[in-house]
């Protein structure tokens, strides 16, 4: 019993840290321009497909295609910001919410058209197998994805706190008008944040492609879960998103284990509703 519980906790940390990376990408966009990107999950799907095609066409392992995924998604993010999102930023709030639904439906179905709705898998990734640590089984690709996610999250954290550009992003997040008056090019910061947020989810996609099924609808659930994580962590809070990501991983895995696997995502949503009921601003907001 204790062994199984330990195994479940390990599993939840492994998935929770990847959730955290996905959510940090989302919270950066949300925090800086107050835009909820419903296509975030589909960006993840595109990251996974990028890794898949790098592997299939160029024999490039996901471990080495991480920079490719980051670059592709960065460009996609900047493009979508420039040509679509920035056009509705001054419009009514409802249009800002709806527009990214359009992007999401467009991207998911473009993937269906280009690559069929089939499930795919990277068959022989460089990292595979499991380590046995006592009674706990540790999947090597999952472990690598988790460690990678934590490292990337930490890098983002230091980028925001230590570099000039990072501080400019945080300044815009705090007060857009004041940042503009201080000579920060807020429009540039917007597209940069959208690009970085998308690149992060692209990296998460590369990590996930090492062990997760890849198909056009894979992003939907990840997208919804990352909204809950972001809102749970608090508006635009990187630390909050990280903690909430781990927390949601725990709820999902332990809930599925103790309660009913069919309800594990329902529990995630329930925890979200209860939390915002008690703290409408989220944990760290």
């Amino acid at each position: 019993m204790a062994d199984q519980l330990l195994q479940q906790i390990v599993n939840s940390l492994l998935i929770g840290s990847v959730y955290a990376l996905v959510a940090i990408g989302l919270t950066l966009i949300w925090g800086v321009m107050n835009v909820l990107n419903f296509a975030h999950g589909d960006f993840l799907m595109l990251g996974m497909f990028t890794a898949f095609w790098c592997y299939t066409l160029f024999k490039m392992d996901p471990l080495f295609s991480i920079p490719v995924c980051a670059a592709v998604l960065f460009l996609l993010g900047v493009g979508i910001y420039r040509f679509i999102v920035s056009k509705v930023m001054k419009g009514p709030g409802l249009a800002q919410l709806v527009v990214t639904f359009g992007v999401s439906i467009f991207l998911a179905n473009l993937a269906v058209m280009l690559w069929t709705p089939d499930f795919r898998l990277i068959e022989k990734p460089l990292l595979s197998g499991t380590w046995s640590l006592g009674s706990v089984q540790l999947s090597i690709p999952k472990f690598a994805a988790s460690v990678g996610s934590v490292l990337v999250s930490a890098a983002v954290f230091f980028f925001l706190k230590r570099t000039r550009t990072g501080k400019a992003i945080l300044a815009v997040e705090m007060n857009r008008d004041a940042a503009l008056l201080m000579g920060i090019n807020t429009e540039r910061i917007n597209s940069l944040s959208f690009g970085i947020g998308s690149a992060l989810v692209g990296i998460a996609g590369a990590f996930l492609s090492m062990y997760y099924y890849i198909h056009p609808q894979v992003g939907g659930l990840f997208g919804l879960i990352s909204f809950c994580i972001v809102a749970l962590g608090g508006f635009g809070s990187i630390e909050g998103a990280f903690i909430a990501g781990i927390l949601i991983g725990l709820v999902q895995t332990l809930g599925g284990y103790f309660f009913d696997p069919a309800y594990k995502y329902a529990l995630v949503f329930l925890v979200y509703l209860i939390t915002v009921w008690i703290r409408p601003q989220g944990l760290m907001g």
Partner: protein, 323 residues
């Protein structure tokens, strides 16, 4: 805005439109044009119901599918399990949905903007997951409505779609009546005040939570009525056909395209959007290529960028210029 007084012109235009709509079933042949108009009315009603909470009170719900599904499931379950007449099931579905709305309204009563939107999605997803696993109501396999004799009493018609058409038109007019009553009543002014400034409204002594709850519950009741209609019309339902996020998004889109916060807006929105989405689905969707949905997604982006205030506002602007 202000208390609604109808001009002579408005009355005559509405009367003319109603006469045309009443004659429509006599003028068209085949079932697709009838189906199309029924879907337009259905989504117009769903959009009008969304508008009561979204357009006027500023609670952007992306979880209306939950109320729609609860309505459809309540009447269908009562009918299959206890032979309860669907018209009674219709009212029961409305009541259950309103109670569910109250339940979700409590934790969401202070949420704003994006937080409310996410909470509404979370709620609808919980309902969908639960219904997918709930054996009593058929779980993922869903419910088939038992065949009965064709009659208004049984809410079932086999030989023609015309009765469904008139019933749905009646439902739509009813929901327009409710919406128009809400907006011109004291409650309508309170809701708009809450939308414009949550805290200001509170300071002015408006019971924000109470009025927001009332708006959600009225909206849920009407949405559930549409759900029962849908079940009686399609005669089959499962969680993936009534409880999914795309339905909620389509409801928001109908209201936004027409004009959120105007009584007639969603009707215009449905009249534009539904023919496009139904026709592309029928013409392009059969191969499962995704092309119909790509067009739909593009349409959403175009509407958000170029017509975010809705067609209704655009038409009014033109109307004013003419005069």
């Amino acid at each position: 805005m202000g208390v609604r007084t109808f001009t002579k012109r408005q009355v005559s235009v509405s009367a003319a439109v109603l006469v045309l709509l009443a004659l429509y079933p006599l003028a068209v042949r085949g079932s697709f044009p009838m189906h199309l108009m029924i879907m337009v009315f259905l989504f117009a009603m769903l959009g009008v119901s969304w508008n009561i909470m979204g357009g006027y009170a500023g609670m952007f719900s992306f979880g209306q599918a939950a109320f729609f599904g609860i309505g459809a499931y309540t009447s269908s379950f009562l009918l299959t399990a206890y032979h309860v007449n669907p018209w009674i099931g219709l009212l029961a579905g409305g009541v259950v949905a309103a109670l569910a709305a109250a339940l979700i309204g409590i934790p969401c009563s202070n949420l704003r903007g994006h937080y409310f939107a996410i909470a509404s999605i979370a709620f609808a997803e919980i309902v969908r997951i639960h219904f997918n696993n709930w054996k009593l109501i058929g779980a993922a396999e869903g419910l088939t409505i038992p065949m009965q004799d064709e009659s208004l009493r049984n809410f079932m018609f086999h030989s023609s779609k015309a009765p469904y058409y008139y019933i749905m038109l009646g439902f739509l007019i009813l929901s327009l009546g409710v919406c128009s009553w809400v907006t011109t009543s004291r409650m309508g002014f309170y809701l708009r005040a809450i939308k414009e400034g949550h805290d200001v409204a509170k300071v002015l002594g408006i019971d924000v939570v109470r009025y927001r709850m009332a708006a959600i519950m009225i909206s849920a009741f009407l949405t559930a009525m549409a759900g029962t209609f849908y079940a009686q019309y399609i005669l089959y339902l499962d969680p993936e056909s009534v409880l999914i996020l795309p339905i909620s998004v389509q409801i928001v889109l109908v209201a936004m395209l027409g004009g959120a916060g105007s009584v007639m807006g969603p009707v215009i929105g449905a009249a534009i959007l539904l023919p496009i989405s139904e026709v592309t689905r029928v013409k392009l969707g059969f191969k499962g290529s995704g092309l119909d949905m790509i067009i739909y997604g593009t349409l959403i982006m175009l509407i958000s960028v170029y017509q975010p205030q809705g067609v209704w506002g655009f038409l009014q602007k033109i109307g004013r210029k003419k005069r």
